[in-house]
């Protein structure tokens, strides 16, 4: 029972949320009110104008705008303002009919196909592609040739022709929602399919359908007035399309005739598009989950900065560092100002040293790693601090030089191997491009080097992997490929962000061994981001412990393991010891623990 009431509550919340957000999207709301006023004006046409839209006063033919005819008169002396108002009824009414047919047919078939699938899904998909392959106007011309000039039939056919858009949209969303837990829960608790569809599924598809309807209405209005414009409708009854047809006939005599119906169409279309876009934006701008980020206002930010500057500069104790981070602060824009995720981090990595940056997820360690690489997401802001790489303060370098530091000075090994290879290019293409660009190698040299690298990182058949696409290799191989790519341009500092987290346990140990041997062979420094003290013990010389965007403890690995000072460090170490045996012992039995030397 509680499940049902919960899902009910969340559905109601979603529903209220949509309208609530719409009310707070001024553009969409204005557009909606404008549409409403236009419809109202066409309905109240007899009150607003004394003229008959379809009967002209010949003496007034092509009259210019004035007190008698506010917008002038057409070639038959019919009042343009009256024709606009009365014509709006025809144009908007016809479009509304087509839109209603399209929505009802598209949504119902979409719901059915998405919810029940099976043969109906196959059949409707086929019908959809058939209908969509027919050019709209040609279909309507054929309909007109068949049944004559009957507006409502044309509009019903137009509606059927526009229905596939709604069908596909609804079907896609329903298929996505069908297996959601709350729908399952509702089904288990014995709700009938009809009620599930009404309560849960419709709630999910409603907003996208309204948005699609607004844009489809623009199409329907365009096609409808287009048909009339071609002179294929009853030209005796005023509508915006027939007015344009009349304007086309008099194009050389009175070009201004096309202005007013064009403006009327334009205003309605703008309102519809802005309504659709406004609603879409209102839905997309849902407040994102804040996660572990801490919100701070500008005042708090300044306070934090003052506090940070008081702290001891760890980096000052390491004069020969190849990578030095001082007072680094990173923030993201949030609903109430800036939320700071990194509060004044200091780090220093000596040449050939492996520094572990340890902390739980959300502690800001990946943000720190990305800022070292100058590859933070676009929204991120560096609020303060400096990053010095190989003696150069990066903030002082021009943009081109900053990118040039990457590859042969700084390199990066990401966490998730599969998503970090471009699926559209082969492993070989992705390995050789940097070699050719950064190292200036020829195609042949780059290929030879890439193959040697693949062999070095322990790939059994380098030639085959070289010609493979990312989806054809395993996660462990992909991580080896990424390591090969990272070391390919012989960097001085390697930034490795959880390089083993996404891998199987057996592969993890192999990849760590590989990293350690590469590090010793090349004398690289490594900044290793991890949440795992086992990895730290395995490979790191020194460790920095990070919590809530701050470094809480730094020291040699042996010291920290022996006597952790900060309670958070003790907690992290404790969880390691409780959960499982540190993997270092396994490795230890085979070879000495080089990392702690």
């Amino acid at each position: 029972m509680s499940t049902i009431s919960l899902t009910k509550a969340s559905a109601t919340m979603a529903r209220r949320g949509t309208w609530h957000r719409l009310l707070h999207a001024p553009l969409a709301l204005t557009a909606l009110i404008l549409l409403f006023l236009i419809v109202l004006a066409t309905l109240a046409a007899p009150l607003l104008t004394p003229y008959d839209p379809n009967v002209g006063i010949l003496a007034d033919a092509l009259a210019t705008p004035g007190p008698n005819h506010w917008l002038g008169a057409d070639s038959a002396g019919r009042d343009i303002f009256a024709r606009l108002l009365f014509g709006g009824r025809v144009t908007l009414g016809a479009a509304a009919l087509a839109l209603t047919v399209a929505t009802v047919v598209g949504v119902l078939t979409g719901l059915f196909a998405g919810f029940y699938g099976k043969w109906f899904d196959v059949f409707s998909e086929w019908t959809t592609s058939l209908v969509m392959a027919l050019p709209t106007i040609m279909l309507l011309l054929a309909v007109r040739a068949a049944v004559g000039n009957i507006l409502w039939i044309s509009m019903v056919v137009l509606g059927l022709h526009l229905a596939p858009g709604f069908h596909r949209l609804t079907r896609t969303i329903v298929v996505g929602v069908r297996h959601e837990l709350y729908v399952d829960a509702a089904r288990v608790s014995g709700l009938s399919d009809v009620r599930i569809v009404l309560r849960h599924v419709l709630a999910a598809v409603r907003a996208p359908i309204i948005i699609n309807a607004a844009l489809t209405a623009v199409v329907a209005i365009g096609v409808q007035s287009g048909l009339e414009f071609l002179g294929l409708a009853n030209t005796q009854i005023a509508s915006w399309g027939t007015m344009l047809n009349e304007a086309m006939v008099n194009l050389y005599v009175a070009p201004a005739l096309m202005l007013w119906p064009g403006i009327a169409l334009g205003i309605v279309n703008v309102a519809l598009i802005l309504f659709g876009n406004g609603l879409r934006d209102a839905l997309e701008d849902r407040p994102a989950a804040q996660g572990g980020k801490k919100r701070t206002t500008a005042a708090a930010l300044a306070a934090a900065a003052a506090q940070d500057s008081e702290g001891e500069r760890v980096s000052a104790l390491v004069p020969d560092a190849v990578l030095r981070v001082e007072g680094l602060r990173i923030g993201y824009p949030s609903a109430d100002g800036i939320s700071t995720v990194v509060h004044g981090v200091d780090l220093a990595v000596r040449p050939g040293e492996v520094l572990g940056l340890v902390g739980e997820s959300g502690s800001g360690k990946t943000q720190t790693a990305w800022s070292v690489l100058d590859l933070l997401p676009r929204e991120a802001m560096i609020l303060g601090g400096s990053i010095t790489i190989d003696g150069q303060d990066r903030a002082k370098l021009p943009a081109g030089r900053r990118r040039a530091l990457l590859g042969n000075t700084l390199a990066y090994i990401p966490q998730e191997p599969m998503s970090n290879l471009d699926p559209s290019f082969t492993v070989g293409q992705q390995l050789t491009l940097p070699l050719r660009h950064t190292m200036g190698m020829s195609r042949g040299e780059a290929k030879a080097k890439a193959l040697a690298l693949l062999e070095r990182v322990g790939i059994a058949d380098p030639e085959r992997t070289f010609n493979s696409y990312p989806h054809q290799i395993s996660g462990g191989m992909a991580q080896r490929v990424l390591i090969a790519g990272a070391v390919s341009c012989e960097p001085k500092v390697l930034v490795a962000d959880e390089p083993t987290t996404a891998l199987d346990v057996t592969v993890q140990a192999e990849v760590l061994d590989l990293l350690r041997s590469l590090q010793q062979e090349r004398g690289m420094a490594i900044l290793l981001v991890t949440h795992n003290f086992g990895v730290v013990a395995d490979i790191c010389d020194r460790v920095a412990v990070m919590q809530h965007g701050r470094i809480v403890e730094t020291g040699d690995v042996a010291e920290i393991f022996a006597a952790p000072q900060h309670p958070y460090t003790r907690m992290l170490l404790g969880s390691l010891l409780h959960e499982r045996e540190p993997r270092t012992r396994l490795v230890d039995s085979e070879q000495p623990l080089e990392a702690s030397v």
Partner: protein
Amino acid sequence: MIHYVARRLGAGVLLVITASFVVYLLMLVNSAHIAQTLLGPDATPDLVARKSVELGLDKPGIVQYWNWLSHAVRGDLGNSWNDGESVGFLILNRIPVTLSIAIGTIVVSVAVSLVIGMAAGVRRGVLDRIVQVISVGGLVFPGFWLALVLVVFIAINLGILPATGYTPFTQDPAGWFLSLVLPVFSLALGAVAGLSQQIRSATIATLEKDYIRTLRSRGLPEWLVLLRHVLRNAAPPTLTIVSLNFIGLMSGAVMIEQIFALPGIGSLAVTSTTSGDIPVVMGTVIIAVIIVVLVNIAVDLVNGWLNPKVRLS
């Protein structure tokens, strides 16, 4: 690969046949008035009846359709009921006009959308706002209304470009180009509106991918990352929109050909439907559907080729 193409072509043929069947039956809903329309209002019932028999309109619909189809598959689309001209010949004469407009519009809109859509997705800020405005502005006025405005201002008032008419490429390439400028512009604006928006969001989505960060970390210059990796990965969804646009263009061409007095498939469709000239109507609809089906298959093939997962399986 060959198997895939064959299957897609097979499905396409089935689609064309079904579409022709639907339209044929539609045309026959009111077949009684066709002979009357052809002969004019003064024709006696006797004459109308004889004309109906002559055209085969007295036979059951399915028989008439079969007759049409069995000739059509052999490439014989019949003769116009209006003037007896070969439908195949009529269409062959007019297809270059419509294809010039459609392909011209696609080329222009893709080129423009690529530049402004990618620029907006990459640089955001003011440029992004401009693209947003274009994407709304391009949809505000129907293409045919825009065409009217262009005719009045550019062709009539300024006299820069020809207002109406078509010059075949073989006759005068420069004149051909000039006669296409206004029609293509009026159709392209709406296409650019949708396409630039699509390219913008595909660019933004691709830029957020993990592999883009990794490629940048290799020290590749930004232009190379954009032109090689972002463009390649943003292409498939964009191409799908292009193929949808093409269907819309077949409709748009009907309007535009009417306004600019271009002798294409669209204007043929308008004249033949008003006179109930079934063979010509069928010819124009079928050729339009065939073009749409071919474009869709081509886009699917290119998309498959762009996506290694599809290409290699």
